[in-house]
Protein backbone atom coordinates (compact mmCIF):
# COMPACT_ATOMS: atom_id res chain seq x y z
CA UNK A 1 0.00 0.00 0.00
CA UNK A 2 1.00 3.57 -0.65
CA UNK A 3 -0.21 6.47 1.51
CA UNK A 4 -0.79 10.01 0.31
CA UNK A 5 2.61 11.03 1.65
CA UNK A 6 4.24 8.70 -0.91
CA UNK A 7 2.67 10.62 -3.80
CA UNK A 8 5.13 12.27 -6.16
CA UNK A 9 5.51 12.84 -9.86
CA UNK A 10 5.99 9.53 -11.69
CA UNK A 11 4.51 7.30 -8.96
CA UNK A 12 2.25 4.53 -10.25
CA UNK A 13 -0.81 3.71 -8.17
CA UNK A 14 -3.96 1.64 -8.57
CA UNK A 15 -7.42 3.21 -8.34
CA UNK A 16 -10.65 1.28 -8.89
CA UNK A 17 -8.67 -1.63 -10.29
CA UNK A 18 -6.78 0.39 -12.92
CA UNK A 19 -3.17 1.60 -13.03
CA UNK A 20 -2.49 5.35 -12.97
CA UNK A 21 0.68 7.40 -13.18
CA UNK A 22 1.02 10.71 -11.34
CA UNK A 23 1.89 13.37 -13.94
CA UNK A 24 1.70 16.50 -11.78
CA UNK A 25 1.96 16.89 -8.03
CA UNK A 26 1.72 19.72 -5.53
CA UNK A 27 1.87 19.51 -1.73
CA UNK A 28 0.13 22.20 0.24
CA UNK A 29 -0.71 22.65 3.87
CA UNK A 30 -2.28 25.84 5.18
CA UNK A 31 -1.11 26.91 8.64
CA UNK A 32 -2.71 24.70 11.32
CA UNK A 33 -4.58 22.97 8.50
CA UNK A 34 -4.56 19.59 6.82
CA UNK A 35 -1.99 18.39 4.33
CA UNK A 36 -3.44 18.42 0.81
CA UNK A 37 -1.89 16.39 -1.98
CA UNK A 38 -3.07 17.86 -5.29
CA UNK A 39 -2.36 15.46 -8.14
CA UNK A 40 -2.98 15.05 -11.83
CA UNK A 41 -3.03 11.47 -13.03
CA UNK A 42 -3.17 9.55 -16.28
CA UNK A 43 -4.83 6.19 -16.66
CA UNK A 44 -2.05 3.95 -18.00
CA UNK A 45 -4.50 1.92 -20.08
CA UNK A 46 -6.95 4.46 -21.48
CA UNK A 47 -4.76 7.59 -21.28
CA UNK A 48 -7.62 9.48 -19.65
CA UNK A 49 -6.36 12.20 -17.29
CA UNK A 50 -7.95 13.59 -14.16
CA UNK A 51 -7.10 15.75 -11.18
CA UNK A 52 -7.78 14.87 -7.58
CA UNK A 53 -6.88 16.20 -4.14
CA UNK A 54 -5.95 13.61 -1.53
CA UNK A 55 -5.46 13.86 2.23
CA UNK A 56 -3.01 12.24 4.62
CA UNK A 57 -5.16 9.22 5.47
CA UNK A 58 -5.85 8.24 1.82
CA UNK A 59 -4.27 4.95 0.77
CA UNK A 60 -3.62 3.36 -2.61
CA UNK A 61 -2.85 -0.14 -3.81
CA UNK A 62 0.33 -0.75 -5.71
CA UNK A 63 -0.55 -1.78 -9.26
CA UNK A 64 0.83 -5.16 -10.29
CA UNK A 65 3.10 -3.85 -13.06
CA UNK A 66 5.96 -5.77 -14.61
CA UNK A 67 8.26 -5.06 -17.54
CA UNK A 68 9.41 -7.94 -19.73
CA UNK A 69 11.97 -8.05 -22.56
CA UNK A 70 10.22 -8.93 -25.79
CA UNK A 71 10.95 -8.98 -29.49
CA UNK A 72 8.63 -7.53 -32.12
CA UNK A 73 7.69 -10.31 -34.57
CA UNK A 74 5.10 -9.05 -37.05
CA UNK A 75 1.95 -6.98 -37.49
CA UNK A 76 -1.30 -8.44 -38.75
CA UNK A 77 -4.23 -6.10 -39.30
CA UNK A 78 -4.07 -3.83 -36.23
CA UNK A 79 -2.43 -6.42 -33.96
CA UNK A 80 1.28 -6.15 -33.21
CA UNK A 81 2.76 -9.43 -32.04
CA UNK A 82 5.67 -9.72 -29.61
CA UNK A 83 7.57 -12.71 -28.19
CA UNK A 84 9.07 -13.03 -24.72
CA UNK A 85 12.79 -13.60 -25.36
CA UNK A 86 13.09 -15.83 -22.27
CA UNK A 87 9.87 -17.89 -22.28
CA UNK A 88 8.99 -17.57 -26.02
CA UNK A 89 5.44 -16.70 -24.99
CA UNK A 90 3.67 -14.55 -27.58
CA UNK A 91 1.30 -11.66 -26.99
CA UNK A 92 -0.01 -8.72 -29.00
CA UNK A 93 -0.83 -5.05 -28.50
CA UNK A 94 -3.17 -3.02 -30.69
CA UNK A 95 -2.20 -0.18 -32.99
CA UNK A 96 -4.02 2.18 -30.66
CA UNK A 97 -2.06 0.98 -27.62
CA UNK A 98 1.26 1.50 -29.41
CA UNK A 99 0.43 5.02 -30.62
CA UNK A 100 3.53 7.06 -31.47
CA UNK A 101 5.82 4.09 -30.76
CA UNK A 102 4.94 2.85 -34.26
CA UNK A 103 7.09 5.60 -35.74
CA UNK A 104 10.19 3.67 -34.66
CA UNK A 105 9.13 0.00 -34.39
CA UNK A 106 10.69 -2.44 -36.88
CA UNK A 107 10.79 -6.24 -37.15
CA UNK A 108 12.98 -8.05 -34.59
CA UNK A 109 13.40 -4.94 -32.43
CA UNK A 110 13.77 -5.72 -28.72
CA UNK A 111 11.50 -3.64 -26.50
CA UNK A 112 10.24 -3.58 -22.91
CA UNK A 113 6.59 -4.59 -22.70
CA UNK A 114 4.71 -3.34 -19.63
CA UNK A 115 2.21 -5.78 -18.16
CA UNK A 116 -0.62 -4.90 -15.77
CA UNK A 117 -1.24 -8.34 -14.30
CA UNK A 118 -1.45 -10.61 -17.37
CA UNK A 119 -2.39 -7.79 -19.67
CA UNK A 120 0.16 -6.03 -21.90
CA UNK A 121 -0.61 -2.29 -21.80
CA UNK A 122 2.41 -0.40 -23.15
CA UNK A 123 5.91 -0.70 -24.56
CA UNK A 124 9.15 1.17 -24.02
CA UNK A 125 11.41 1.43 -27.05
CA UNK A 126 15.20 1.48 -26.90
CA UNK A 127 16.30 5.10 -26.45
CA UNK A 128 18.20 5.01 -29.73
CA UNK A 129 17.16 3.10 -32.86
CA UNK A 130 18.80 2.76 -36.28
CA UNK A 131 16.41 3.15 -39.21
CA UNK A 132 16.93 3.21 -42.97
CA UNK A 133 16.19 6.33 -44.99
CA UNK A 134 13.73 5.42 -47.75
CA UNK A 135 12.98 8.83 -49.22
CA UNK A 136 15.45 11.72 -49.42
CA UNK A 137 16.13 14.51 -51.86
CA UNK A 138 19.66 14.24 -53.29
CA UNK A 139 22.31 16.44 -51.70
CA UNK A 140 22.82 19.41 -53.98
CA UNK A 141 26.47 20.28 -53.41
CA UNK A 142 27.05 23.97 -53.36
CA UNK A 143 23.48 24.60 -52.24
CA UNK A 144 23.59 28.11 -50.86
CA UNK A 145 19.95 28.35 -49.87
CA UNK A 146 21.14 28.55 -46.28
CA UNK A 147 19.02 25.72 -44.95
CA UNK A 148 21.11 23.31 -42.91
CA UNK A 149 18.53 20.50 -42.69
CA UNK A 150 16.19 18.69 -45.04
CA UNK A 151 13.22 16.37 -44.53
CA UNK A 152 13.58 12.61 -45.07
CA UNK A 153 11.32 9.58 -44.59
CA UNK A 154 12.54 6.43 -42.84
CA UNK A 155 11.40 2.83 -43.31
CA UNK A 156 8.57 3.12 -40.78
CA UNK A 157 7.09 6.09 -42.67
CA UNK A 158 8.25 8.56 -39.99
CA UNK A 159 9.50 11.90 -41.28
CA UNK A 160 12.19 14.01 -39.66
CA UNK A 161 14.75 16.72 -40.36
CA UNK A 162 18.34 15.62 -41.01
CA UNK A 163 21.58 17.25 -42.24
CA UNK A 164 21.73 17.69 -46.05
CA UNK A 165 24.42 15.00 -46.54
CA UNK A 166 22.07 12.14 -45.50
CA UNK A 167 21.00 10.17 -48.56
CA UNK A 168 18.46 7.54 -49.50
CA UNK A 169 19.63 4.10 -48.32
CA UNK A 170 21.64 5.52 -45.37
CA UNK A 171 21.00 4.25 -41.87
CA UNK A 172 20.50 6.96 -39.26
CA UNK A 173 20.27 6.88 -35.47
CA UNK A 174 17.16 8.50 -33.95
CA UNK A 175 16.37 9.39 -30.33
CA UNK A 176 12.97 7.76 -29.74
CA UNK A 177 12.13 10.13 -26.86
CA UNK A 178 12.27 13.21 -29.06
CA UNK A 179 12.14 11.80 -32.59
CA UNK A 180 15.28 13.71 -33.53
CA UNK A 181 18.27 12.77 -35.68
CA UNK A 182 21.45 11.86 -33.81
CA UNK A 183 23.96 10.63 -36.37
CA UNK A 184 24.48 8.62 -39.58
CA UNK A 185 25.55 5.04 -38.86
CA UNK A 186 27.59 2.62 -40.94
CA UNK A 187 26.64 -1.03 -40.76
Amino acid sequence: MYTASDLRKGLKIQIDGEPYIVTEFDFSKPGKGQALYRTKMRNMITGVQFTQTYRSNDKFDRPNLEERNMQFLYAQDDEYHFMDTASFEQIFLTKEQLGDNLSFLIDNMEVQVLFFGDRPIDITLPTFVNLEVTVADPWAKGDTSGSDTKPVTVQTGFQLQVPPFVEQGDKIQIDTRTGTYITRVKE
Binding site: F27, K29, P30, K32, G33, A35, L36, R38
Partner: protein, 305 residues
Protein backbone atom coordinates in the same frame (compact mmCIF):
# COMPACT_ATOMS: atom_id res chain seq x y z
CA UNK B 1 20.82 24.87 -2.05
CA UNK B 2 22.47 28.25 -1.69
CA UNK B 3 25.57 29.58 -3.40
CA UNK B 4 28.15 31.42 -1.26
CA UNK B 5 26.48 34.68 -2.36
CA UNK B 6 23.07 33.32 -1.33
CA UNK B 7 24.44 32.11 2.01
CA UNK B 8 25.72 35.61 2.67
CA UNK B 9 22.27 37.03 1.93
CA UNK B 10 20.70 34.52 4.33
CA UNK B 11 23.31 35.40 6.96
CA UNK B 12 22.54 39.11 6.48
CA UNK B 13 18.85 38.31 6.98
CA UNK B 14 19.47 36.37 10.21
CA UNK B 15 21.65 39.20 11.52
CA UNK B 16 19.08 41.87 10.59
CA UNK B 17 16.34 39.92 12.39
CA UNK B 18 18.44 39.65 15.56
CA UNK B 19 19.40 43.31 15.39
CA UNK B 20 15.75 44.34 15.01
CA UNK B 21 14.76 42.48 18.17
CA UNK B 22 17.82 43.43 20.25
CA UNK B 23 17.16 47.11 19.46
CA UNK B 24 13.66 46.69 20.91
CA UNK B 25 14.75 45.11 24.17
CA UNK B 26 13.90 41.49 23.33
CA UNK B 27 16.11 38.70 24.60
CA UNK B 28 17.07 35.76 22.39
CA UNK B 29 16.29 32.34 23.88
CA UNK B 30 17.27 28.85 22.76
CA UNK B 31 14.89 26.24 24.11
CA UNK B 32 15.30 22.43 23.83
CA UNK B 33 14.53 20.75 20.52
CA UNK B 34 13.79 17.34 22.10
CA UNK B 35 10.72 17.30 24.31
CA UNK B 36 9.06 14.45 26.21
CA UNK B 37 5.59 15.85 25.46
CA UNK B 38 4.39 18.17 22.72
CA UNK B 39 1.38 20.41 22.23
CA UNK B 40 -1.26 18.06 20.78
CA UNK B 41 -1.95 19.21 17.22
CA UNK B 42 -3.98 16.95 14.97
CA UNK B 43 -2.45 18.21 11.72
CA UNK B 44 1.22 17.94 12.68
CA UNK B 45 3.22 14.71 12.69
CA UNK B 46 6.30 14.85 14.94
CA UNK B 47 9.50 12.84 14.58
CA UNK B 48 10.22 10.53 17.50
CA UNK B 49 13.70 10.81 19.03
CA UNK B 50 14.12 7.78 21.28
CA UNK B 51 11.74 8.45 24.18
CA UNK B 52 11.15 12.09 23.13
CA UNK B 53 9.93 14.05 20.12
CA UNK B 54 11.64 16.72 18.06
CA UNK B 55 9.64 19.89 18.53
CA UNK B 56 7.34 21.05 15.73
CA UNK B 57 7.66 24.64 16.97
CA UNK B 58 9.21 26.29 20.06
CA UNK B 59 5.81 27.48 21.29
CA UNK B 60 5.48 25.29 24.37
CA UNK B 61 8.84 26.17 25.91
CA UNK B 62 8.72 29.84 24.94
CA UNK B 63 5.35 30.32 26.64
CA UNK B 64 6.73 28.64 29.74
CA UNK B 65 9.48 31.29 29.71
CA UNK B 66 6.78 33.98 29.59
CA UNK B 67 5.17 32.33 32.62
CA UNK B 68 8.56 32.48 34.33
CA UNK B 69 8.64 36.25 33.95
CA UNK B 70 10.21 37.02 30.56
CA UNK B 71 8.29 39.75 28.77
CA UNK B 72 9.85 40.01 25.29
CA UNK B 73 11.55 36.95 23.81
CA UNK B 74 12.50 35.73 20.36
CA UNK B 75 14.04 32.57 18.98
CA UNK B 76 15.40 31.45 15.61
CA UNK B 77 15.46 27.66 15.53
CA UNK B 78 15.00 24.57 13.42
CA UNK B 79 11.66 22.76 13.66
CA UNK B 80 10.70 19.31 12.45
CA UNK B 81 7.45 18.16 10.88
CA UNK B 82 7.17 14.73 9.37
CA UNK B 83 5.60 14.15 5.94
CA UNK B 84 5.90 17.78 4.81
CA UNK B 85 7.69 18.11 1.48
CA UNK B 86 6.86 20.49 -1.31
CA UNK B 87 7.62 23.78 -2.94
CA UNK B 88 6.99 25.59 0.37
CA UNK B 89 7.68 22.75 2.81
CA UNK B 90 10.70 20.86 4.10
CA UNK B 91 10.51 18.48 7.05
CA UNK B 92 13.28 20.43 8.77
CA UNK B 93 12.91 24.18 8.49
CA UNK B 94 13.85 27.41 10.23
CA UNK B 95 11.32 29.36 12.25
CA UNK B 96 11.50 32.80 13.83
CA UNK B 97 9.14 32.95 16.80
CA UNK B 98 8.59 35.87 19.15
CA UNK B 99 6.34 36.85 22.05
CA UNK B 100 5.41 40.16 23.60
CA UNK B 101 3.64 40.44 26.94
CA UNK B 102 0.74 42.86 27.19
CA UNK B 103 0.12 42.81 23.42
CA UNK B 104 -2.73 41.43 21.33
CA UNK B 105 -2.79 40.20 17.73
CA UNK B 106 -3.35 43.67 16.25
CA UNK B 107 -0.19 44.93 17.98
CA UNK B 108 1.69 42.05 16.34
CA UNK B 109 0.30 42.89 12.89
CA UNK B 110 1.68 46.42 13.27
CA UNK B 111 5.04 45.04 14.29
CA UNK B 112 5.07 42.66 11.30
CA UNK B 113 4.70 45.68 9.00
CA UNK B 114 7.64 47.41 10.65
CA UNK B 115 9.86 44.30 10.79
CA UNK B 116 9.25 43.26 7.18
CA UNK B 117 9.80 46.82 5.92
CA UNK B 118 13.15 46.84 7.70
CA UNK B 119 14.16 43.42 6.38
CA UNK B 120 13.08 44.11 2.80
CA UNK B 121 15.04 47.36 2.89
CA UNK B 122 18.18 45.71 4.28
CA UNK B 123 18.18 42.22 2.78
CA UNK B 124 16.59 42.08 -0.69
CA UNK B 125 18.80 41.37 -3.67
CA UNK B 126 20.78 44.57 -4.23
CA UNK B 127 18.87 45.17 -7.43
CA UNK B 128 15.66 44.00 -5.83
CA UNK B 129 14.47 47.06 -3.97
CA UNK B 130 13.40 50.43 -5.14
CA UNK B 131 13.77 53.44 -2.84
CA UNK B 132 10.04 53.54 -2.14
CA UNK B 133 9.76 50.34 -0.08
CA UNK B 134 8.92 47.86 -2.79
CA UNK B 135 9.77 44.18 -2.93
CA UNK B 136 10.74 42.94 -6.36
CA UNK B 137 9.20 39.50 -6.76
CA UNK B 138 9.30 37.70 -10.10
CA UNK B 139 7.80 40.02 -12.69
CA UNK B 140 6.26 42.61 -10.38
CA UNK B 141 6.65 44.92 -7.40
CA UNK B 142 4.92 44.36 -4.08
CA UNK B 143 4.48 47.49 -1.97
CA UNK B 144 5.66 46.80 1.58
CA UNK B 145 5.21 50.32 2.93
CA UNK B 146 2.39 50.24 5.52
CA UNK B 147 -0.51 50.06 5.82
CA UNK B 148 -1.03 46.53 4.50
CA UNK B 149 -4.32 44.90 3.53
CA UNK B 150 -6.34 43.36 6.36
CA UNK B 151 -9.24 41.00 5.71
CA UNK B 152 -11.16 38.64 8.00
CA UNK B 153 -11.34 34.98 7.04
CA UNK B 154 -15.11 35.33 6.56
CA UNK B 155 -14.59 38.30 4.19
CA UNK B 156 -11.99 36.39 2.19
CA UNK B 157 -14.28 33.37 1.68
CA UNK B 158 -17.07 35.71 0.64
CA UNK B 159 -14.95 37.79 -1.71
CA UNK B 160 -12.78 35.15 -3.41
CA UNK B 161 -14.93 32.02 -3.21
CA UNK B 162 -18.42 33.51 -2.88
CA UNK B 163 -19.01 31.22 0.07
CA UNK B 164 -20.10 31.43 3.67
CA UNK B 165 -17.19 30.29 5.84
CA UNK B 166 -19.47 28.55 8.31
CA UNK B 167 -21.02 26.46 5.57
CA UNK B 168 -17.55 25.62 4.28
CA UNK B 169 -16.56 24.47 7.77
CA UNK B 170 -19.64 22.28 8.04
CA UNK B 171 -18.88 20.74 4.64
CA UNK B 172 -15.31 20.02 5.81
CA UNK B 173 -13.46 21.65 2.91
CA UNK B 174 -12.11 24.81 4.54
CA UNK B 175 -8.46 23.94 3.80
CA UNK B 176 -9.12 22.98 0.20
CA UNK B 177 -10.95 26.20 -0.67
CA UNK B 178 -8.41 28.28 1.24
CA UNK B 179 -5.53 26.73 -0.71
CA UNK B 180 -7.09 26.74 -4.17
CA UNK B 181 -9.35 29.81 -4.26
CA UNK B 182 -8.07 32.23 -1.65
CA UNK B 183 -4.35 31.94 -0.87
CA UNK B 184 -3.18 32.53 -4.48
CA UNK B 185 -5.00 35.90 -4.44
CA UNK B 186 -3.50 37.19 -1.19
CA UNK B 187 -0.58 39.59 -0.84
CA UNK B 188 -0.11 40.20 -4.55
CA UNK B 189 -0.02 44.00 -4.54
CA UNK B 190 0.84 44.52 -0.89
CA UNK B 191 1.15 42.05 2.00
CA UNK B 192 -2.19 40.85 3.38
CA UNK B 193 -3.24 39.86 6.89
CA UNK B 194 -6.00 37.28 7.02
CA UNK B 195 -7.47 37.38 10.55
CA UNK B 196 -10.22 36.14 12.86
CA UNK B 197 -10.07 32.41 12.20
CA UNK B 198 -12.87 30.04 13.22
CA UNK B 199 -12.14 29.18 16.83
CA UNK B 200 -11.65 25.46 16.05
CA UNK B 201 -8.72 26.45 13.78
CA UNK B 202 -6.84 28.31 16.49
CA UNK B 203 -6.27 25.79 19.25
CA UNK B 204 -3.88 28.06 21.17
CA UNK B 205 -5.46 31.41 20.33
CA UNK B 206 -7.72 33.50 22.54
CA UNK B 207 -11.41 33.58 21.69
CA UNK B 208 -12.54 36.99 20.44
CA UNK B 209 -14.67 38.93 22.92
CA UNK B 210 -16.54 40.66 20.10
CA UNK B 211 -17.30 37.45 18.18
CA UNK B 212 -16.97 34.23 20.21
CA UNK B 213 -17.08 32.10 17.04
CA UNK B 214 -13.60 33.31 16.05
CA UNK B 215 -10.15 33.21 17.59
CA UNK B 216 -7.79 36.21 17.60
CA UNK B 217 -5.46 34.59 15.10
CA UNK B 218 -3.95 35.94 11.86
CA UNK B 219 -1.81 34.78 8.99
CA UNK B 220 0.45 37.01 6.92
CA UNK B 221 0.58 36.44 3.14
CA UNK B 222 3.04 37.88 0.66
CA UNK B 223 2.77 36.92 -3.02
CA UNK B 224 0.33 34.13 -2.15
CA UNK B 225 2.85 32.62 0.28
CA UNK B 226 1.78 32.10 3.89
CA UNK B 227 4.64 33.66 5.80
CA UNK B 228 3.64 34.03 9.46
CA UNK B 229 0.99 32.91 11.92
CA UNK B 230 0.29 34.93 15.06
CA UNK B 231 -2.33 35.26 17.76
CA UNK B 232 -3.40 36.66 21.07
CA UNK B 233 -2.42 33.86 23.43
CA UNK B 234 -5.06 31.74 25.08
CA UNK B 235 -4.03 31.72 28.76
CA UNK B 236 -7.12 30.19 30.38
CA UNK B 237 -5.99 26.70 31.47
CA UNK B 238 -9.51 25.25 31.54
CA UNK B 239 -10.35 26.32 28.02
CA UNK B 240 -6.88 25.33 26.78
CA UNK B 241 -7.32 21.86 28.30
CA UNK B 242 -10.64 21.43 26.48
CA UNK B 243 -9.10 22.55 23.19
CA UNK B 244 -6.22 20.09 23.65
CA UNK B 245 -8.65 17.28 24.46
CA UNK B 246 -10.47 18.05 21.22
CA UNK B 247 -7.19 17.82 19.27
CA UNK B 248 -6.37 14.55 21.06
CA UNK B 249 -9.76 13.18 20.11
CA UNK B 250 -9.08 13.96 16.44
CA UNK B 251 -5.66 12.31 16.77
CA UNK B 252 -7.31 9.27 18.34
CA UNK B 253 -9.68 8.97 15.36
CA UNK B 254 -6.58 8.88 13.14
CA UNK B 255 -5.16 6.07 15.29
CA UNK B 256 -2.59 8.30 17.03
CA UNK B 257 -2.19 9.09 20.70
CA UNK B 258 -0.81 12.15 22.47
CA UNK B 259 -0.38 13.17 26.09
CA UNK B 260 -1.48 16.42 27.71
CA UNK B 261 1.38 18.84 28.43
CA UNK B 262 0.44 19.19 32.10
CA UNK B 263 3.37 21.40 33.16
CA UNK B 264 2.51 23.83 30.38
CA UNK B 265 -1.16 23.92 31.43
CA UNK B 266 -0.20 24.47 35.07
CA UNK B 267 1.97 27.50 34.21
CA UNK B 268 -0.41 29.03 31.65
CA UNK B 269 -2.23 31.41 34.08
CA UNK B 270 1.11 33.00 35.00
CA UNK B 271 1.55 34.40 31.48
CA UNK B 272 -1.08 37.12 31.61
CA UNK B 273 -2.00 38.89 28.37
CA UNK B 274 0.49 38.19 25.58
CA UNK B 275 0.73 37.72 21.85
CA UNK B 276 3.08 35.51 19.85
CA UNK B 277 3.93 34.76 16.26
CA UNK B 278 5.94 32.33 14.16
CA UNK B 279 7.47 33.35 10.82
CA UNK B 280 9.01 31.00 8.24
CA UNK B 281 12.58 32.18 7.74
CA UNK B 282 13.20 29.94 4.70
CA UNK B 283 10.10 31.31 2.99
CA UNK B 284 11.09 34.88 3.81
CA UNK B 285 14.58 34.29 2.42
CA UNK B 286 12.94 32.76 -0.67
CA UNK B 287 10.75 35.84 -1.21
CA UNK B 288 13.65 38.24 -0.67
CA UNK B 289 15.64 36.33 -3.28
CA UNK B 290 12.75 36.36 -5.76
CA UNK B 291 12.53 32.56 -5.75
CA UNK B 292 9.43 30.32 -5.79
CA UNK B 293 10.80 27.25 -4.02
CA UNK B 294 12.28 27.19 -0.51
CA UNK B 295 14.93 24.74 -1.64
CA UNK B 296 16.48 27.81 -3.31
CA UNK B 297 16.74 29.57 0.07
CA UNK B 298 18.28 26.96 2.40
CA UNK B 299 21.92 25.79 2.74
CA UNK B 300 20.89 22.18 1.98
CA UNK B 301 17.78 20.22 1.15
CA UNK B 302 17.30 16.72 2.55
CA UNK B 303 17.79 14.97 -0.81
CA UNK B 304 21.34 16.34 -1.01
CA UNK B 305 22.41 14.92 2.34
Amino acid sequence: MLTPEGLRQRSDLLRAIRLYFFERDYIEVDTPLRLPVLIPESNLVPFASEDCFLHTSPELCMKRLLARGCSRIFQICHCFRKEEHGRLHQSEFTLLEWYHKGWNYFDLMGQCEELLCTLVHQCSNASGTSPSGQLRWRDRWITVTPPWDRMTVAEAFERYAGMDVNEVLRAGNFDEILVTAIEPRLGQERPTFLYDYPVELGSLARRSQKNPAVAERFELYIAGVELANGFSELVDPQEQRLRFLREMEMLHVMGKEAALPEKFLAELPLIGEAAGIALGVDRLCMLLRGETDISAATPFIFEEL
